[in-house]
Symmetry: C2
């Protein structure tokens, strides 16, 4: 249920004096609503108020606010007496302003009723036109317009729409009635049906209504209106709306407004019509008007697509006056809104009305073009421009996408979480091994890896495939995190998939797919398609570079990247990361040559034995870090996180694998099993992991410190030689899963002793700098940040784990209930997608504050998945965070979001 | 390492003016340390200062403070120049006051050096007597005392003790040297060895010292002293001390003080001696002095137990003057300390010195006797008395204990966590089934159930056994929680046990035990013994009742109990619980007749099917709750927690069990397996559990609400009939694992709709009251307590889960690292034993405050395990908690602890 706090004080959209918000007033005429803002008026209502204000001609009317919707739900889904009175008073005032009468001739007031939420939302109730018609007023309309057929056509349309939309009844039977008449008369087009036939049809419609609902079609326009308003409020809570909100992070609490507006008749005569347009080209962003127009039609005819609309150039030729008015008004709107507009208009007997305006949706390419053009035109400044680009749209520019027309035609077979952006087409494989086998044989093989969920063992297969599709997991499941990290298209949590492992088939969308069958997945929308869809590559774009340079100029938060390999590090720098905020070391032990040594280390009985294997691993680690440093080229940050996962992740699970490992290890199977059992965690997320490993096995932390410092020294030397001048590296070790200051100090001391010794013994640089920072991932670390901060060089918030522990939700398991939480509006967002702005933010803000009080040099950053999420970045900005670190492909979006947070803080709005 | 903040401003122990604490002063003469308190002076030092102040004769000396110990560790285990100077100045001043000279005749100053931590701690370094002796001063001592043999015996003892204690070298070889001389001379007793032989022995000792340490035995008394002081500081960090601290929740940061005291020679002549005593009888608390005395002996002779000491009555006859002095001083001490004292004394040539005094350890029975007697005597008031009883000691009075002498003689075979107090003797069984089978055959069978760890399936076996012993798990593992709940003796986490499941044997303490062999376990100490030990029952005690009535009078926090069965509820009320703060419902589904229905419910494919089985379960639940209400008798609280654990806990794991369940369920094995797989949680603690279950399966919450309300109505009726007057019940439902206000409201609405309907339909009481409260178990719930509090009747903190999530430590897994954390002083306490006074307390205090601000009627309580822990109760008191709820057997201790928290807040000290 929307809560009472849904609507805050409305924000001004211009510097001109705005109308006054009056608490308890739920109905505002368009002319008295200027500046009350979208949260109160909804998008459509706000647009109409703005247009009224700047003198664009609109049909008069009023908005019933989103607060009325909240009131409706708070009152047990009822319209209160008070609200009903305000709506009726609104009608009365509209009658006075228009000189028309609601429900009476000679000049009957007819209205359209439309929903209008804060953002445009599919699934909400459609428009009802011609409300106010009944057997009396239809006659008056006929008289007034002099066109009886037009009046009765309006009436017919109204009954149909009211039944279908306001009462939610399918239109099939009523459409059939019209078809029967047309068939009987041998007529093809609706507008050829004659008035007498329309009258017969209207009678039939009404009989049908009576039969269906057990009551007469309401003749009282006020009853018509109240029913329509209620239907709109109700539609806020329908299934499709809820799904859309969930997918788009729109809080349930916002509610929808309702706009009641005098009809303008695009279907009155040949000198009338209706259309939609953009002030600039929405695909490429070029600066010319783009619109489509239907002569003698009402809005729904355009949507229905029965007749092909005219291109705007045709209008220019046929009705040059209207065309010129349209261009002038469009420019006026753009100047007012300082943004490209998407508008609807109607021409009634040669008179142009605007029905709606809103900021136009555009492609990523167009967004950059419009923003940079408008700066060039002097319409907006750079900061305005930055707010006009959607950070998420930048992904489109880095990944292949489907050719739009081809995607539209493709057969949808399922949906999941849009976990890794881009488009991928490929042959289904069910195991990582198979994927690697095929990719090894055929480098060009296109593969989609389908798994119940992925685990670290699947990494090779994910690299080999073009796309990854999983049955379980959310936006921060293993598959999602890794896919974004390595830039693969990925959809997670498609629970509809049924895999038959033995038969190597999967069932989805009513089809059975065999291994090798082709599917396509859109990782930006979460949609899965049958067969192959044509794709196009993401390309370079000079506006992209320009806009991101502006972003870096204004952002307070710096953007780093998470990278585990030299290739990822290279990508990160290419996309503008300032350094590597998180380098995970756990994947580094999974290589064929290393895993066995790692396993031997884990199976060791004594510290001595363990140290022996760690010495072997140290060589690999050192080489890994050396390559990372070389890829980064010095002067750039690289935060190496100490080993984090529970050790049993490296040991086999299956009986046969255990037997094999025992054989290779020359240990009894029982011994190996006992060790696996000993290391097994009931709740691995909260077990022996993170810096707990360094407390129990200090030799592991020592080995990693040695590898990092040795690699840094070697890279510093080689980079300096290459550059012909001294290149400086500051090594950085990051301690995961900290819970207390003393624990952090223990690990810091452990690694510092090793580091100091190696640096002291170095023959190259005895002054190599290194820092030791900590991850803040447990609520306890956040709550004692004032203590830990004294000792740490930086705080790096692991938002995934911090969210897990704060909620008590396991990322591996929460898909079992998260949809019910979103469907029932128990939480506004998936907390692993967008950071919790209440509790988790509170923990972050509190520890940033107390940490910095204890240590003014403390740097505070984010290296969890939320670090790349635009909404989350705004929250981090407000929490006092200094930097975020995210997957390389999310770096551009994060840079832009960081700038937007700063610019918004300065008072800029969009 | 002890931190610099270890010692706060010392607390006064009396209202008389106390000496001044001077920052940076590490050495205080006994006569200038009055009132500086134990945190600074340690227990012994504070006792000496007090005795000096009230005029009890003590040998003069000084205390090196605990701050000096901290300084020692902070300086890298070194005594700073400044500290060394202060110690030497302390000696100089002592020389001046005593007229003796350190390291020189004619009147050489000899001292004892003793450790003295804030609380008495075994494992710390023992006393070194006679320090200051060397080849010169021994002669002076001989001359001064006129007894050459005495002087050389002191010297011999000193070298032996210095080598053994200060240098930490075993005394075996040196004892052998003495034995050889005795053998050669045919002497039996040490005191028959002649002076010339002692001189030979001293020479041998010194040679041995040189050989062992490669340096001469130090002749310089100052060097002797500094070595001894350092040894004491070092001993704060030795293995035994660390173990003791861990077992007794003593923070590492406290450090130890050192007392340097002029020798009083109990071994000077037959008119000398040494002894220990209590001002009252420590076993039963009777008010008469109790002491033991050895003539012509030094302290270590008493400890060594070579000679049997005289009972105090013998002293009364032999040395009536000394006896009278002793009684007078003892009374004086009691009057000063207002508590029973445990003291040490020495008589040097007819002159009585006290060496030490401290509050005496006593049994639970004695503690109650002393406290109530002292109130009667007017020595203390009721509040003082309450502080003098140890809440943990009350457990002894409720459980059987071992006969002390028998336990002392028994063979210890292992140790674990003292998880469920009491003493148990029984035959080993390895499975719950076996335990139940035997108990069914023989109701009197005594059994000890030994398991790797227990799970809910083992409940029946735990009930059937007398004691439970597990290899894994801590103080809040399943075994521990359940054992305390049902009042069973329990030891957990004895990792030394090796069980061979096939052979049905276990290895422990070098023995192999077969099923049926007898062992004894002490659940109050965690010690495991071979064979059977005689036990005695816990009995009634009128002082117990008196003291607890006082406690209830003063406590602000109320005490409730956790109870899941009518029997437990009955126990709870018997032990003084005000009601049931937590009734878990999950065990109620485990009965033979119910589990199958529960499993069918879980395996259901549709809501309809699930509801069908839930209807069957509802009958059982209703009967369970009805019996609980009847046992409680109305007017008493019963908070029923909705189903909490993940559902797969009710499904089998083993292949054969799954096959059987499938057969019984008439479902394909694959289907059952798929459902188990679907419900399987990677991290069950953070998975689909708690109120998440009610969101996904609202029908479960509805069923439970129905059962509770129906039971309450029925019980209200039957109780009223029985009582012949209207008995009122307020039903209470508690929602577990809440994370957000909207979620809580969802579940509250769900259960309220059912409750309202049933109450409205009731023909008995249409006004039955019910409340819906919430568990605060996730950090998020605590951090949004201001929101949730608006809607909840009460907050019940589940401290186990709250601790788990705050730390990211799983209770099932933390035994893999917790010991390393305690050993390395990374945390002060096991956070599942005593509530974290930093982060977790902060979460509690913050949400209590914000919750009560939002809802002044909000009650805030604890129902996690920490609710029964005395230290934790003090923390909860400070956090503003209104009530705690704990296992029935812990209720008396909790009542006392609650009173103590309040009384301490009022400024009372003990």
């Amino acid at each position: 249920m929307p809560t009472k706090t849904a609507v805050k004080k409305p924000a001004a959209t211009s510097r001109k004096p705005r109308n006054k918000y009056i608490p308890g007033q739920y109905v505002y005429a368009f002319g008295e609503a200027y500046g009350l803002g979208k949260p109160l008026l909804g998008g459509k209502g706000a647009g109409l108020a703005e247009m009224a204000h700047i003198g664009i001609r609109i049909p008069d009317g009023f908005t019933i606010t989103t607060e009325a919707c909240t009131l409706y739900y708070d009152s047990g889904r009822k319209i209160t007496k008070g609200l009903e009175k305000q709506i009726k008073d609104g009608i009365k005032a509209l009658e006075e302003r228009t000189g028309k009468t609601f429900g009476k001739g000679p000049k009957p007031l007819l209205v359209s009723v439309r929903s209008g939420a804060r953002v445009s939302m599919p699934g909400m109730m459609d428009t009802i036109h011609n409300l106010g018609l009944n057997d009396e007023t239809v006659e008056a309309l006929a008289k007034q317009s002099g066109k009886e057929r037009f009046a009765y056509d309006c009436y017919r349309r109204f009954i149909l729409m009211f039944t279908n939309i306001a009462k939610g009844h399918p239109r099939t039977e009523m459409d059939k009635m019209l078809d029967e008449i047309k068939e009987a008369k041998g007529i093809k087009n609706d507008f050829d049906v004659e008035v007498e036939d329309l009258k017969v049809l209207i009678k039939k419609y009404k009989e049908y209504y009576l039969k269906t609902f057990g009551e007469e079609f309401p003749a009282d326009p006020k009853e018509q209106l109240m029913t329509a308003v209620k239907a709109i409020f109700r539609s806020w809570d329908n299934e499709r709306a809820n799904l859309y909100r969930k997918m788009n992070n729109i809080p349930y609490s916002w509610g929808t407004a309702v706009n009641v507006q005098m009809m303008a008749f695009g279907n009155m005569n040949q000198n009338s019509g209706t259309g939609v347009g953009f002030t600039r080209q929405p695909t490429d962003g070029q600066n010319h008007i783009f619109a489509e127009y239907l002569i003698e039609a009402q809005g729904e005819d355009v949507v229905a697509g029965i007749r092909t609309p005219l291109h705007i150039d045709a209008l220019k030729e046929q009705q040059p006056k209207i065309y010129n008015q349209l261009v002038t008004s469009a420019k006026k709107l753009e100047k007012h809104y300082k943004d490209m507009q998407d508008f609807e208009f109607t021409v009634e007997d040669g008179k142009l009305y605007f029905l709606q305006t809103r900021n136009g949706k555009r492609t990523g390419v167009a967004g950059l073009q419009v923003a940079t053009d408008m700066v060039k035109e002097g319409l907006i400044d750079e900061k305005d421009a930055l707010l006009r680009v959607d950070p998420r749209s930048l992904d489109q520019l880095l990944h292949p996408t489907f050719v739009e027309a081809a995607e539209k035609k493709a057969v949808v077979i399922g949906h999941g979480n849009a976990a890794g952006p881009g488009a991928a087409v490929g042959h289904i494989v069910f195991t990582a091994d198979e994927a690697m086998k095929i990719a090894n044989k055929d480098k060009k093989a296109q593969l989609i890896l389908v798994r119940a969920e992925t685990s670290p063992e699947d990494l090779g297969g994910m690299v080999a495939a073009q796309g990854v599709l999983t049955m379980r997991g959310g936006m921060t499941s293993h598959a999602a995190v890794v896919a974004r990290q390595i830039g693969k298209t990925c959809i997670t949590g498609c629970s509809e998939i049924k895999v038959n492992e033995e038969a190597k088939t999967m069932e989805l969308g009513g089809h059975v797919y065999h291994e090798g069958d082709i599917i396509s997945i859109n990782g930006s929308t979460g949609t899965i398609y049958d067969g192959a869809i044509e794709t196009k590559e993401g390309g370079d774009n000079k506006n992209f570079v320009k806009v991101l340079n502006w972003a870096d100029k204004y952002a307070r938060i710096k953007v780093f990247a998470n990278a585990d390999t030299p290739e990822e590090a290279h990508n990160a720098i290419r996309f503008g990361a300032r350094g590597i905020g998180l380098c995970r070391t756990e994947h580094m032990f999974r290589g064929k040559d290393r895993l066995f040594i790692m396993q031997q280390m884990i199976l060791s009985d004594t510290t001595e034995e363990r140290v022996k294997y760690l010495e072997q691993l140290e060589k690999f680690q050192e080489e890994d870090f050396y390559k990372m440093y070389m890829a980064l080229g010095g002067g750039v940050n690289l935060n190496v996180r100490l080993l984090d996962p529970p050790l049993d992740e490296y040991l086999p699970i299956k009986e046969e694998d255990i037997v094999e490992l025992a054989k290779e290890s020359k240990k009894p199977v029982e011994t190996v099993k006992a060790r696996i059992e000993q290391l097994h965690m009931t709740n691995p997320m909260m077990g022996l992991r993170g810096c707990r490993l360094d407390v129990v096995y200090p030799e592991i932390g020592r080995m990693q410190a040695e590898a990092v410092i040795k690699a840094a020294l070697r890279a510093e030397k080689d980079l300096s030689e290459k550059a012909g001048k001294k290149v400086h590296i500051t090594a950085s070790l990051m301690v995961p899963q900290v819970i207390a200051e003393k624990e952090f100090v223990f690990v810091k001391k452990l690694v510092s002793e090793v580091a100091d010794k190696i640096i002291a013994e170095s023959d190259y640089d005895k002054k190599l700098k290194y820092v030791v920072g900590t991850m803040i991932e447990t609520p306890r670390a956040a709550l004692t940040g004032g203590e830990i901060g004294k000792e740490a060089a930086y705080f790096s918030y692991g938002t995934n784990d911090l969210t897990q522990f704060t909620y008590g939700f396991s990322r591996n398991d929460y898909s079992a209930f998260i949809n019910q939480y979103l469907d029932n509006n128990l939480i506004d967002f998936d907390p692993f997608k967008t950071i919790d702005a209440d509790a988790v933010k509170r923990l972050i803000a509190l520890s940033v504050k107390e940490g910095k009080e204890a240590n003014p040099d403390l740097h505070c950053g984010i290296c969890g998945e939320a670090g790349g999420d635009p909404e989350s970045i705004a929250i981090f900005h407000a929490a006092g965070i200094d930097y975020v670190s995210c997957s390389p492909f999310r770096v551009p979006g994060a840079r832009l979001a960081a700038a937007q947070a700063q610019i918004r803080e300065e008072g800029y709005k969009y």
